[in-house]
């Protein structure tokens, strides 16, 4: 999923200060799962903003809503009747949701309430970790199912650097060495020969090197 973290309240107040009425919009997808921008977080943020504004001596009307998916135009369309009188939108979705709104509602300012972080997975309750950088040409079949692009601090494709110590990355004891994990997996699978294969220099075009990416499915596209 796409992970996100809420921005500091002070930053959000600066965005909404000039307005009297805004729509605060959550998303039911990834940001709900990582507890950054779902229905619950919308409620919490709305009261937080209102209290902070009151403290500053101003009143703001915050309408709350959570869409099934902000990155999908079908759902975004639902907002049309709700936007009457709203001077601005604050989105708690990832950057994709924010931009979808900005494209659709050309006369309304749209502000992000979260910082979009990475594509990750849940390690345990309340902990998410990066797993994929969307390089566009998946290597996982050669690396024991563990990604050296997303999980090695130097994106090394041919083994660990000289800083791998006791299973940790040189940058922090909190970070696993991806190549230690890969090696342990290859050993467990009896595939250590795969390590001897030199992986050639990567073509970064599918990974964004050739500009913004797009998928067009001819069988589905209208």
């Amino acid at each position: 999923m796409i992970t996100a973290e809420r921005k500091p309240l002070e930053e959000l107040i600066e965005y909404i200060k000039p307005f009297k009425r805004i729509l605060l919009l959550g998303c039911n997808e990834c940001v709900t799962v990582c507890a950054a921008g779902g229905r619950k977080e919308v409620g919490l943020l709305a009261s937080g903003l209102q209290m902070a504004m009151l403290k500053n001596g101003s009143n703001i009307d915050i309408r709350q809503h959570t869409l099934e998916r902000q990155c999908d135009p079908e759902y975004v369309e639902e907002l049309v009747p709700m936007l009457d009188g709203a001077e601005a939108i604050m989105s708690m979705a990832c950057g994709c949701g924010v931009q979808q709104l900005a494209m659709r509602f050309k006369d309304k300012p749209v502000f992000p309430a979260v910082n979009t972080k990475f594509m990750g997975a849940s390690e345990r309750q309340g902990v998410w970790a990066e797993r994929c950088q969307g390089c566009g040409n998946c290597l996982l079949g050669m690396t024991g199912g563990i990604c050296p692009i997303a999980r090695c601090a130097k994106q090394l494709m041919n083994g660990p650097c000289g800083g791998s110590t006791g299973g940790h990355c040189e940058i922090s004891e909190e970070v696993d060495c991806a190549w230690q994990l890969i090696w342990d997996r290859l050993k467990a699978l009896g595939q250590t020969d795969m390590y001897l294969e030199n992986i050639p220099a990567k073509d970064w075009r599918p990974g964004g090197g050739s500009g913004p990416r797009k998928i067009i499915r001819e069988d589905l596209a209208e």
Binding site: K154, P160, A201
Partner: protein, 307 residues
């Protein structure tokens, strides 16, 4: 012979090669660089010129290599994958060779986290093994990484690093094999303090016959002080400084520690020289270039052969 590199000539003639390093200054101080390089003149076969070492901005390794070359020494141009993409690397390699620099070292590079620009993006377009392959193809096939023909190919003697002390240990010989398969002509190792562990790694190297496919230069560093030994033991990722070394540094009074550090270094070189498959010694006297001559003299590495 693949190149005109003096280091290659020394190694090919069967001499025990000696290299050392010279870190470029943190500013426009060519005179300071020249002063440091002078300590190594006639003492070593090639001088490693580090590339923004420890991820701190310095005079570029290309410019510093050229300045050192002008002084009559043989620079060993270091290039990391951290700061340049493949276009910039190839451009610098052509530039270096055009200025008579024919020996280089391909490295991943210390992470930016350790330096003074932790906010910078790490590049890592290619990794060190892919860089070795790229430089080999530039030299032997006369092509750029992208496939086009180079008009005037750089004939680089290609070096790589190896750290026998990092984890997982059992993979370290295989990683060396991958570097050799990619095209490494010589290897400089991480500083060796734990000689028995290095010997164990070399056993693995010999088992696979890798010492016959590539020259291995064993790395050493003289400890300047007890503090330096402790720092390397505890703070430098992938360094293995056994307790005996730290204790030995601690056993002498402060004013004698530098001398003790040099003595340990000389003793280490003596041990390394005897290990089958070691083709040279790489002395990393960090900001202590003036000691290299004494180390070489005491370790019987002088005079350097004329090739």
């Amino acid at each position: 012979m693949k190149t005109e590199s003096r280091l290659e000539k020394v190694l090919a003639a069967g001499h025990l090669a000696v290299t050392s390093e010279c870190g470029p200054p943190r500013g426009c101080q060519p005179a300071h660089l020249i002063e440091k390089a002078k300590y190594l003149d006639g003492i070593v076969d090639a001088v490693n010129v580090t590339d923004n070492q420890t991820a701190m901005v310095r005079m570029s390794s290309l410019a510093a290599s050229f300045i050192i070359k002008q002084q009559g020494l043989n620079p060993l141009f270091q290039v990391t994958c951290r700061d340049r993409n493949r276009l910039a690397m190839q451009a610098d390699i052509i530039g270096a060779y055009s200025m008579g620099i024919d020996t280089m070292l391909c490295l991943s590079g210390d992470h930016t986290k350790f330096g003074d620009h932790p906010m910078a993006m790490n590049v890592h377009d290619i990794d060190s093994i892919q860089m070795i392959q790229m430089v080999k193809d530039m030299r032997d096939k006369g092509i750029f990484q992208g496939g086009a023909e180079i008009k005037g190919a750089p004939k680089m003697f290609i070096g790589a690093a190896a750290n026998p002390f990092a984890d997982p240990f059992e993979l370290r010989v295989m990683r060396l094999a991958k570097k050799i398969a990619a095209g490494a002509d010589f290897i400089q190792t991480q500083c060796i303090f734990n000689v028995p562990k290095f010997e164990k790694w070399m056993e693995g190297v010999r088992e696979k016959g890798l010492h016959k496919k590539c020259y291995i230069l064993a790395g050493v560093t003289p400890c300047k002080s007890l503090g330096a030994a402790k720092y390397m033991a505890n703070r430098v990722p992938g360094m293995d400084v056994p307790k005996e070394i730290v204790d030995r540094m601690a056993s002498v009074p402060k004013e004698k520690q530098a001398e003790e550090g040099v003595t340990i270094c000389v003793e280490t070189i003596e041990k390394l020289k005897k290990i089958e498959g070691v083709s040279g010694i790489h002395i990393m006297a960090i900001e202590w270039e003036e000691k290299v001559q004494e180390i070489c003299e005491r370790a019987g590495l002088l005079p350097r052969p004329q090739v």
